[in-house]
Symmetry: C2
Subunit: 696 residues, 2 copies
């Protein structure tokens, strides 16, 4: 394969994805926005979300400037090439842009989805899903665009070797990860502080319904869905997508040597291109009938993702054949292992968090003996749910490593290239999987607007159905994000080891090496500490919202009777300030840990730390998101009439479970994905420093 062809494919895929996103956004914006009240609410949410993002970017810019200077100094010292600081900046920029575009369309699609739902379930689904499409394809398109531009610059303008090109390109993952971490942590704190604050005072103390327009925190709650679940997730998955492709390219160069290396670099990029087209075709299959229930709605989304996966699987066989040759069929099996692994993780998440299955039903039942038993039950459920994803990812790793090694046994790096390709396989159809994921918050917001604008109960039934579906896709999306993050992180560890080798550092990867062992201990602890920081941050921020909402109910006359308007802006402002303040420490932990561990324990300690953090982070993230998801759905199940229904003692217990699960599943859990990749990325960028300076 000539590299001009490669560039053409890559650029064409990027343009195609962005064009599709643009067309979908036109489609969304063409839809009417509903009544003046709906427009007003939507505008308030959009304004709040944009104001938050603006201030978040201001903080982030300070950080990026400081990091740019540090990286530049390291480059002057000869520990990095001069491209790295710039690669870092562009990674951050595109990651942030992905989140921004996704959020812009999501905040415009919420009222439109609610309005479309007035005319039918399928109409509502289409608007919300189209908004999801915009996000999904923007992420994919921008990722491929960034890769293409850098490739052209380094290869053709600076005439670098392919190995050096791959080595530089991987460093912009650090910029993307840093941006993603700020977006996820900041957004995650915002959304849950607002949510908990709104619920604790509004629902529990004042006894008004969820999403009631009298609740001063209700707009902040809806803003939170957008800045956390949309902007945060966009930045996160941009980073996973690009990270998996680039780490595969870098490993491919090592595995294949100079002869075939251009082909090894081409394969993941071509797979990504295939994924774009497969996702587009899959998106066409997403529609539903008017009398759809929860299961048929879910099936309509599944039809889309599954057909994309099948198309991707078949096409990737020909890609491997054409690029590497039929003797590398084992590599196709590695890609397949990733694709299938992703689907299975989604199913296992559903098994543990959907109320159509036994675990969540049992959890709902345990609410009958009170809050304590539903808490214990949820913790137990979350812990038990970790085994299936572990087995799935473990099997994918083994299959990917050994199958891709078939054609050249003894070439260990080829096996690692296979593991990395499994991650690419899992993420190749990101265009559509992310669409179903981003669809969730749009539907959630639409439900909120329908409630606040007092639309017909029939409309609300429809938006409830869409919202409920969004809960399921959010849970499976989380499983998918963490699964791909784990595989990508493993590939990045291999890259780190390679970087240390190149830098001439010594590394002893044996688990009986005490420096590595202590590194594993410290690394395994990091996700716990990181989660503690984010969970406690949510707790603090929520308490300030609780006090503000209580104050407004107390001081604004006529508010509870619906005669006066609450002061939404103050709640939004409080959440903004709290989350920006609270996101600094977790981010600093993530960035400084590899450097401190590296200076103390050397490269072996860092390798151990990455391994420990990846493994524990993976498990802890699954524990938290599944426990949280199950509590959420147990509550919904009770609200649907089981165990006494709404306003029963069981329901009260379930509400507490849901509230406790919120920061676990929506703040700490998803942030861990980024943590484990950021740790690896920082280690890779600072590899030369760590190789040169260390205590042990």
């Amino acid at each position: 394969m000539s590299e001009y062809l490669l560039i053409t494919i890559s650029a064409a895929s990027a343009v195609l994805a962005l064009l599709f996103a643009y067309l979908k956004s036109r489609q969304v914006l063409k839809a009417p926005e509903g009544t003046p009240l709906m427009q007003k609410i939507s505008l308030a949410v959009r304004t709040g979300a944009l104001a938050y993002l603006k201030r978040q970017y201001r903080v982030v810019i300070v950080f990026f400037t400081a990091m740019f200077v540090i990286l530049f100094i390291l480059a002057i010292c000869g520990l990095l090439t001069y491209f790295v600081p710039f690669a870092f900046i562009t990674g951050g920029f595109f990651s942030g842009l992905s989140g921004f575009v996704g959020m812009s369309i999501a905040t415009r699609a919420n009222a439109r989805t609610a309005d479309a739902a007035r005319h039918g379930l399928d109409k509502g689904l289409r608007v919300a899903f189209s908004a999801g499409n915009v996000m999904g394809f923007t992420v994919v398109g921008l990722g491929l665009l960034d890769i293409t531009l850098w490739y052209i610059l380094l290869k053709f303008v600076f005439k670098m070797e392919i190995g050096d090109v791959a080595a530089v390109m991987i460093t912009f993952g650090m910029g993307a990860s840093s941006m993603a971490l700020f977006a996820r942590v900041g957004g995650g704190i915002f959304t849950k502080a607002a949510d908990i604050g709104a619920d604790l005072v509004g629902k529990v103390e004042a006894g008004i319904p969820e999403d009631d327009i009298r609740n001063p925190a209700v707009i902040a709650d809806n803003v939170g869905d957008n800045v956390g679940d949309v902007a945060g997730m966009g930045a996160d998955l941009y980073e996973s997508y690009v990270g998996s492709i680039l780490s595969t390219c870098a490993l491919g160069v090592v595995a294949f040597g100079s002869g075939l290396s251009i082909r090894a670099v081409a394969l993941p990029i071509v797979l990504a291109g295939i994924g774009v087209i497969a996702s587009m075709i899959g998106s066409l299959f997403v529609h539903t009938k008017e009398d759809a229930n929860q299961r048929t709605l879910l099936n309509s989304l599944r039809r889309g993702t599954n057909s994309s996966a099948i198309i991707g699987a078949v096409a990737s066989f020909f890609a491997v054949w054409g690029i590497l040759g039929i003797e590398y069929y084992g590599i196709w099996l590695a890609i397949l292992a990733g694709l299938i692994g992703g689907v299975l993780i989604g199913l296992s998440t559903e098994l543990f968090t959907s109320d159509t299955y036994k675990p969540t039903r049992k959890l709902a039942e345990s609410s009958e003996t009170g809050t304590a038993t539903i808490m214990i039950g949820g913790i137990g459920l979350g812990m038990a749910s970790t085994i299936l994803p572990i087995i799935i990812v473990g099997a994918a790793v083994i299959v990917a490593y050994f199958c891709s090694g078939i054609s050249d046994p003894g070439n260990g790096t080829l096996g690692l290239y296979g593991i990395s390709l499994a991650a690419v396989g899992m993420l190749s159809t990101l265009g559509i999987t992310l669409s179903t994921d981003a669809y969730g918050p749009v539907a959630d917001n639409a439900g909120g607007i329908a409630q606040m604008a007092s639309l017909d109960s029939e409309v609300r039934t429809r938006t409830d159905a869409l919202d409920s579906l969004g809960n399921t896709t959010a849970a499976t999306g989380k499983g998918f994000a963490i699964g791909s993050a784990a595989l990508t992180a493993l590939a990045l560890i291999a890259n780190f080891v390679e970087k240390i080798d190149v830098a001439g550092g010594s590394i002893d990867l044996s688990i009986m090496n005490p420096a590595l062992l202590v590194g594993v201990l410290v690394g395994a602890c990091l996700p716990f500490v990181f989660s503690a920081l984010t969970i406690q941050a949510v707790g603090r921020a929520a308490q300030s919202i609780v006090q503000e909402v209580r104050r407004q109910f107390r001081e604004i006359k006529g508010l509870i009777e619906g005669k006066a308007d609450p002061d939404y802006a103050t709640c939004v402002d409080l959440c903004t300030k709290a989350s920006l303040k609270e996101m600094i420490l977790p981010a600093a932990t993530a960035i400084l840990s590899p450097i401190i561990v590296g200076l103390l324990l050397g490269a072996s300690g860092v390798a151990g730390m990455l391994c420990g953090a990846t493994v524990t982070g993976f498990i802890l993230a699954i524990f938290m998101s599944n426990a949280g998801g199950a509590w959420d759905n147990a509550k919904k199940y009770i609200e649907s009439g089981a165990h006494g229904g709404k306003h029963s003692e069981s329901h009260k217990a379930a509400v507490v479970g849901d509230t406790v699960g919120d920061p676990l599943k929506d703040t700490a859990g998803p942030s861990i994905n980024i943590l484990i990749k950021l740790l690896s990325m920082v280690s890779i960028v600072f590899a030369a420093l760590i190789a040169g300076v260390h205590l042990i």
Copy 2:
């Protein structure tokens, strides 16, 4: 050092410890048992506890018989020596005996402590602490006795090489671990099911005080304290103690080669002997003044443990000098690292769980915004509390490895011997640390009896003070148990690797080896799954108690008015049945996992699994015991008058926190210690099988 001298020291230490335990038990039994009602209650608790143990042993005997047959068959196949099945049985027997003796005295000391407290605080403290002494020194004495007897048998009767002696002896750790697991898991489920059941119906629904004699589950609750916290802990620490000594001996033989190996084996045994004497001296310092508050009471126990530690530290210097020579001073530093590490872990536990410090106070404060915030706060606190013990153990590992390697750089096994010696150092003063730990449940029971027998409020104030102190020692004891377990488990992994080498199996310890990496993933998941099993078992068992207690309150006329007696025996029986049934699956998981992983992924996979399980198990156990401890003490702090005191909304929220923490800190957390060691022990015993037969 001649080996006859070694045998003499070892036997003499064993006899000395057992003699001390005997004298202390005489001292306890001489004390009067109080009023007839107190005697009756104590008898009921004792009868229930013995009945439980009898039935537990019946189940355990079936298991041990089956395992004996399996091991015997493996011996016939040449995969083990014929000693192993017998070593397995004796390990189990002595571990069980340790728990049994401790429990026998504890159930006799409870009423006596309550009675002594009628005459003064110091009198009460002395009886309870003496009962703790019996347990502490029985564990130590039986451990050394078992080691001595086997040494004599193998070395002098069967004339085996020292290396083979060490190799056989380590296998009785598997018997001890298996017994300990049954005791901890079964006892842990019993105690928390009874506790939660008694609290949920008695305190919350019926509104009667804790430990009220009208509560049908109150005897079961007190029985549970003994079968879980005493018998379970005795078996657990017996296993840690013996395991750390034997793994050190085995590593010593490898590290020093045939010339010095007898000395390397002698050192840990002599250290244990020193610890016995140091613990006895320390025990003499434990007494208090009548007007003691919580802090001076704690200091009186600390005086004992600290003076033992200092004596042990100084004496061990001379032991190293005398046995190995002054040039091995680095090895003394390794021992010291373990001793100091143990003390520091205790302090860090206190920092996070005692209400004299900020974390628990903040947690108590978060109860003001309701159950959800105190739940979130506790989870965050527990997660944050993992970093200090990790740093402490990590530092101990680094110091022990590099210092002990000073005298022979490049001898890696010497460093591992040093890590193992750090565990011996930490556990050498087990005589007294376990005494302070076993003191806790005795004081707890004494408080219960004082309440049930309606003793004067002055007496109850004293037993409350003793009980409250017991909570702190229980928490520090748990930190200490898990810290030593982690170090021991690391040493056992080194032993496993050595065994595979000897068996001629191939092993690749690199973390980039996919089999090992997947092993780490699976291993890291095991503590989560294991905890899920035990936590859910508690939940199920507690629900059956809740229903039984509700039934009794409903059906027994005059019960709530105090005119009729409840049926205590049915609750005890229900707990017994439930816990025996529920302990099978977790135990099977622990024993089968290494074998299954070994057959699938080979020795490298098992090494990875052990590493993953040790690291995550360590962290998860600390998370669970500190979160649980902090919730418990936050509740006690509120009961002492803060944030509205008893019967306030804050208190209700704190009670839920305490209830949720119970199975975490008293069932799942402590069981993990044993899990991680049992996994290693099973791997060591089945090493030859794993080396021979595997898929990858």
